[in-house]
Symmetry: C2
Subunit: 140 residues, 2 copies
């Protein structure tokens, strides 16, 4: 067993924040051959979002639907680009407790429902500038 708080088993997805999700998806389809994409509205996060497979992992695209949302502010401050990366872990609720106990800064101290399943975000201050989402592994 590794002597670590958790094991990041898999890079679940890389999320890219953009101004126009449909234009972006068309560019990634025309350029990189990504498959068909189902754009969904995630109302509580005020984004349009889409996940698309690329090999064994996924790309997520998000477009803010409200200029006051976190994603809109991200784009305003930093421009379009990679917004976060997501690791799959086992036992997310326990992992969050263990991370918190070690002093790792969390945005979500308990799992919540996200596009990819039950998820939580870690604060970039603790992860060397990377906004990291954790997604709970499917039950096993």
């Amino acid at each position: 067993m590794p002597d670590s708080v958790c094991t990041a088993k898999h890079l679940h997805h890389v999320c890219i924040a953009v101004k126009d999700i449909r234009d972006t998806v068309k560019f990634y389809q025309d350029t990189f051959g990504i498959g068909n994409v189902n754009v969904q509205e995630v109302t509580d996060q005020k984004v349009l979002a889409a996940l698309v497979k690329i090999g064994g992992t996924e790309l997520e695209f998000i477009q803010p639907t409200d200029p006051t949302s976190g994603v809109a502010r991200f784009i305003e401050q930093r421009g379009e680009g990679v917004h976060h990366i997501c690791f799959e872990v086992d036992h997310l609720a326990d992992t969050l407790k263990a991370l918190d106990a070690k002093g790792v800064q969390l945005i979500d101290k308990a799992p919540r429902k996200g596009l990819a399943g039950m998820i939580a975000f870690m604060h970039p201050r603790s992860t060397r500038g990377v906004l990291i989402e954790l997604v709970d592994s499917p039950a096993h």
Copy 2:
């Protein structure tokens, strides 16, 4: 056959630019259970670099060794964080010609040797803010 310039077969790695690669690797080992990491100096890019497996893909960490390097300027302007993502494609040289012919902006118009193999970078202006590296598939 997809009607696209190329097919991104696989997310080869996600690269994170940091100020202190050894401190970062220790944090990712202690927190996420990533394996042992071999930090190498890549002199022509003026970085220390390390690749580590995470599921079927990899994380790359880079630390600038010279304050005038591109990576040092990236960290100065944007802070530590995700620097680029890398897709694996077939026939990289031909892909670059086809991308160029379609007006996609490239940093490298021909493959060059990188840490992951023969690689080329696309310009974030064309890819909705994402610095994308392409790596040639192993010969088949």
